[in-house]
Symmetry: D2
């Protein structure tokens, strides 16, 4: 297969990163088959545990399973037109007659498919995605602490509002990403398996097993899974829907950070910059360009994947004991797991070499210094008893052309007596916006410590 013949940008372009091996181990077609074999083997092992077949048989099947390649199964599928039957056939060819009869005995394809998917999604999430997310979280904490005192103007509606620190800005993301990590952990650890047969009522298993519920639980315990309380031919789809929601809402947080960074990198703002290699080209037209391409790429991944939650919602609906209209749509689930990991990884790489321009931040802050203390002024005046202090200050700020807000306020006869009453200790807030920082630093530390503790950093 020529990789340039691929039409999926995921496999061609985004899989080139060092994530590729890990992703292939859980999310590829090969991985799917390997996990299915693992389920088939665990099932026979459970059969042997309950004395339904001999212990040697499960060992024999396990051994055979290790030799089976995806290609063999693919060839067989072209005959049967049924992927699970193909797997069962290939597995059967490689074992004794006695073993053969217990492979997949009484199971339906979805016992294997759904359980294998739950298994590999859980493993991938725990072994690849979550470590990546935690690695990003750690970096965010580091950057937040480093910049806990780095002055920055807070912005609302794109307008200068009130001073914060760059660390405080980042701490917001420490908290939001931290909470999403817990949400992903919850959803992942809640993935369940099923070994309940063609309509979920254990009909066939009851033919040779006294307690099929124990057989199901035992099989799944070998895989580190628990049985779903209910199932039909398939697992209820809420398990997957919850995981995808956790992933996409995480992607939303990452995309928000990417947008923030993009705008902080605007030519006129210039507070941060994405690192550019010395041979890297920003534009084929304009040699001077250095663009926030990684942040743009992250936002774009969000655009590509967030709508896919609708596919997952549609797949919740499966008529009666199942209707298979999820046959194609759910095959795209691994793409969602990978895309989320990829975006997290891209964000970490962009932040690792992020250029933070403290001077530019200070410069931007100072540009609005005369206006950004308007809140402090109105609050202090109100506390001195000035009625409608907000309206007074709004009017002065609205008409202010140049000069300082305080000077304009001092020229206002109505305000003057109240300004004079403001306690000496409070005047510093009006004199310099740097003093008007509230708990920016303290909150930054608090949030970072909390997540270091929760995540065991």
């Amino acid at each position: 297969m020529d990789k340039f013949h691929l039409i999926s940008p995921l496999d061609f372009r985004y899989m080139r990163s060092d994530l590729a091996d890990k992703a292939i181990a859980y999310l590829s077609e090969e991985a799917k088959i390997k996990h299915e074999i693992e389920v088939e083997v665990a099932y026979v092992r459970a059969l042997s545990y309950f004395g339904i077949c001999k212990k040697e048989l499960y060992k024999e099947i396990q051994k055979a399973g290790k030799k089976i390649t995806a290609e063999l199964i693919c060839d067989e599928e072209s005959k049967t037109g049924h992927e699970t039957k193909a797997l069962v056939n290939v597995l059967s060819t490689n074992v004794s007659s006695e073993a053969k009869k217990f492979i997949h005995l009484g199971l339906t394809s979805c016992d294997v498919l759904d359980t294998a998917n739950a298994l590999r999604f859980k493993r991938y999430t725990e072994k690849v995605l979550l470590p990546e997310a935690k690695s990003l979280e750690k970096l965010l904490i580091k950057l937040a602490i480093q910049n806990k005192k780095t002055f920055q103007i807070g912005r609302t509606h794109g307008q200068h509002a009130e001073p914060i620190t760059f660390g405080f800005f980042l701490a917001q993301y420490v908290s939001r990403l931290g909470q999403r990590i817990l949400a992903i952990e919850n959803a992942s650890s809640n993935l369940k398996g099923k070994i309940s047969g063609a309509v979920g009522a254990y009909n066939a298993l009851s033919l040779f097993c006294n307690d099929p519920l124990k057989l199901e639980a035992k099989t799944l315990s070998y895989l580190g899974l628990k049985p779903s309380e209910s199932s039909t031919q398939i697992l209820p789809r809420e398990y997957f829907a919850d995981l995808v929601h956790a992933l996409l809402s995480t992607l939303g947080v990452i995309a928000n950070l990417a947008d923030d960074m993009r705008h902080l990198q605007r030519s006129e703002i210039g507070e941060v910059a994405e690192h550019f290699g010395s041979t890297q080209v920003g534009s084929s037209a304009m040699p001077h360009k250095r663009n926030p391409i990684t942040f743009e790429n992250i936002k774009s991944i969000w655009k590509a994947f967030s709508p896919r939650i609708l596919t997952v919602y549609m797949d919740q609906i499966s008529e009666h004991q199942r209707d298979l209209t999820n046959s194609a749509s759910e095959r795209f689930l691994p793409e969602m797991l990978f895309a989320c990991t990829y975006a997290i990884r891209q964000m970490r790489k962009a932040l690792e070499k992020l250029y933070v321009d403290e001077k530019a931040m200070l410069n931007n802050l100072s540009k609005s210094s005369q206006k950004t203390i308007s809140e402090a002024l109105y609050v202090l005046l109100a506390l001195q008893g000035l009625e409608n202090a907000h309206e007074h200050v709004r009017r002065i700020a609205f008409n202010l052309q140049k000069g300082s807000l305080i000077d304009a306020a001092l020229k206002d006869k109505e305000l003057l007596p109240y300004i004079k009453k403001i306690p000496q200790a409070k005047l510093k807030y009006l004199q310099n916006p740097k003093n008007y920082l509230g708990l920016a630093e303290k909150k930054t530390e608090r949030i970072c410590k909390n997540w270091e503790k929760i995540l065991g950093f």
Copy 2:
């Protein structure tokens, strides 16, 4: 306002139910204002608790708040062009000068808006939506238990598969809805408030309060809320996103049940029927029609609302300390809460009078009785040592024109010796599909008991 001038079908058509009063109390514009006033009052109460203002003032403001109507605020908003400032102005007009200065002191609009929304969504969820959902769950349990022995053919791909009971079919929904109820409870109880000022750094609060974090916590505690660990001008949107996901994934479960019922009501299947009043008309063309209109309506509500998760995902992204591009989009959140409740209520009403035709179920089951035991046959043959038992039986079933599968199998020379080896005790499974029920009944009881216990029925 003439109700026939409305363009929203929610307000005009779906609000006519007995849910209207409850919905209005939490989800209407009036409710929004009432909850905002409650937040403003709680804030002054907290100020008084910390000695920043006198206790009488909070009582005075509380009293004033009770007199304020939505109309007054609406009129004021037409002047200020700012809804929260309008509220503050109207509230201020009704109190003493001393009280006036503490109203909203140092707050930003979103401290009030976001907290009030969290508050009313939480209350609505707990007091209206969850009781409705539990009431439906109770009914589902009752129906499942009633029908735990009612034979039904299980269907996969719309094809007859293996026998289940109608109660077992319903038990799947008992389990899925039960789990969604817990998911909604989780998301709802995780809704948070914020009292952290214009950029989330408590800048203004720090002007007059030594520990703004305590002030925030105290204010919110009066409302039964906890503070978000981080905030900017606004709450992080994940709290709302989690709630909406819980609601929409619940709606997905309800829609799945509605689709199942619609198809069970098909003329050719006829296993259930929606109740029709004696004067109700099914079709303006065809006098004989009785349609599954409530189940259709539920599915349609799902179509109308599930895509709106995307709006919520988009609203997770708010540039820097907030960008207000959620100004219109989040005003539609109450519609989602109502729509979910409405669909749940509709389902309960449809199920309360559901006509279950046990005869039709048995009739449909018996139609495929000769084929549906094919699984039992192959498993039993495999256990007797027949190699490729599945393939043998598949071939016979594929070629079967009429007569019974067993008869055809008995005529097959290869199979005959193995059939004879099947233990006597197992033959009943092949003789009558009613015997091939697996754990349908047991599982029904188990699931129902579990949810009765969890939900305290």
Copy 3:
């Protein structure tokens, strides 16, 4: 009905504008009923045209129809549980026995419902939405022409790129909006009706009419509609889907413009500003704030409505001759028509009073003047025969700390000979970015003239 009891923000908040009357006339529940009556009357008129009933009867029914209120039908619906039957009953009550028998004779509800919806959506689009869109287009043309020479820095990736004019920036939207207006016109004029009975095969109509296709065409011709080539019980949903796509893709263009304006209004950029009334409040916390709230509102409307295309796509699917799972979802279509109009109107209002700061534009342009000519430099050097001119210039621009790009290039020994070869006439492009404008002005004029001509301004 108390308007503060509404939960729909559309009816409560966004309908307050001067669009309300026009919207109510086509999109409200009352409008729906009025248009349905119009269809019923047109049908009897067609019956009379073909001599199936007497001419007086259609006049009688028409007269009766004018007296019927939405309230009467609503009351009747509470009995029949069927909205079209309710309408037929009420209409019947008000006419003679002879007239009664021809009302709705042989029709199915959807003949009336679907046709009435097509009719009112078409009228609303032509009489309200398109005039609004054209009015916005006219304003955009005016602004583009006014600013065809107003220098502005072009931005890609949020980075300064190359000079354009503000008029050229706007001309892009003149072209895009113009094309969307044509798309809406196409989709609207392609809305069709149907009078083909319960399953679309004209079964009942054939009982008393020799050529039901002519009866259908005649009925619809009275309404200014054409029949759909095919129908079942319902119209194929592609007609509506095309209209909604035209509307939402228009909304996307408007949202793009809103985002552009929001960012041009950033404190650091400050090239435009939304008008603020003298009593308007920007922030309840910060008296100095003037925010781009209208542009934010427009973007937010886009967020709220663009996902709803999925509902329309889902409603394309209706099992067999129809399944009614569009019963609730399609009732929200009028909301989409209104929301699109509202966003267009908001944009026009915001642009009418837009403050354009030419000085700030020039100032921003000049900030990057030394870099933005890098493209001109590389092209001119390449034309003089310098190999790898792009790479040469990229390296110089990358290392440039201060001073001009030209000065740095002149200091480069490799480049110097080529720079000297650049024809005198071309040097102006390197000396001043204002000269490096390409066809900005010419293209602006060309686009504007084209749309003035097409739309007949």
Copy 4:
């Protein structure tokens, strides 16, 4: 590259069909590069046409372009981090110094990328997708004509309604698919290119060309494209959005047909069946199963792709002269083109071997024959002057337990005199539902002929 290491189901699973070669030729990474080279060559050809460079140079570059492999460019991209610059570099290495300087001279990457995408999407649509769609349309016409007299019961709400023919049922899809084919043709032929430079104002091109608009038009004319009226750094995204809407609304029509077929294949209905190969396995549990897997697969493709319209809508928004947040998301556009073709192909394959069970259709029709004439009865009674004929018949049908509707009506004293008045010639409609077919056959022929003519079959 190991194909089993792919995570994209499109490339691994769905590309295995005979569509693969055609898809690779337009939609793969290699195809992207080949089309980009074609644009670069066309540009130099246009330069030579206007005498800006010598004619030999374009031939030289064209020749060089033919030797370039995707791999070479991929390697170069790993250095430049910029895909278009990589292409320019590789192309430059293979030509003379003189040629080198004209390659990409004054262009921006998107001139090449966007134009190449428009080009290959247009070609793919015209050469692969539309022929497939027409091939399906032809088959639908054939099936419709074959079955124009095949009785079938029409169904609304899943309930038996009135008689139609299976051909009439199919004719609906002939009409809907036909109209979508025209919509795709429109959108495809409206795809445009751009050669307007870094911000769309032809800045650099103006350095060496007197009429850049002619240069643009000439370049594009070599590719069979026209220039977009306006562009920034990029093409307006409405061209792609319109194409994707045309594709997805086509997919919706196909999905509707797939759902209809799935339900017609239900065990209880059994009117059609998907062909099963003699070695094909329906279920790994139940040897007797033959499932509508192709129809399910088609519906599932629709679930997977319809939500992606939202990505396209989001990509309409690109800040200022472009923001590159479409960098990843638009790379998935080729997947949408392929998926739509794949679904169309699957539908054709399923229909080619569709088993139509005329007996079952007749049998289902006759089951409701006593009720389905209720409409005919009420219409005929109304025409004889019976008031409230619909209500009379509704009541009788509602209470009918067994026996015929006519017999029950005849027993009704009120109705009897009116029944007697029904003209002899009309009685056949009441006697046999087969007579109550309306224009089913005629309409089928009419629709089929119309599309044969339009599409030139």
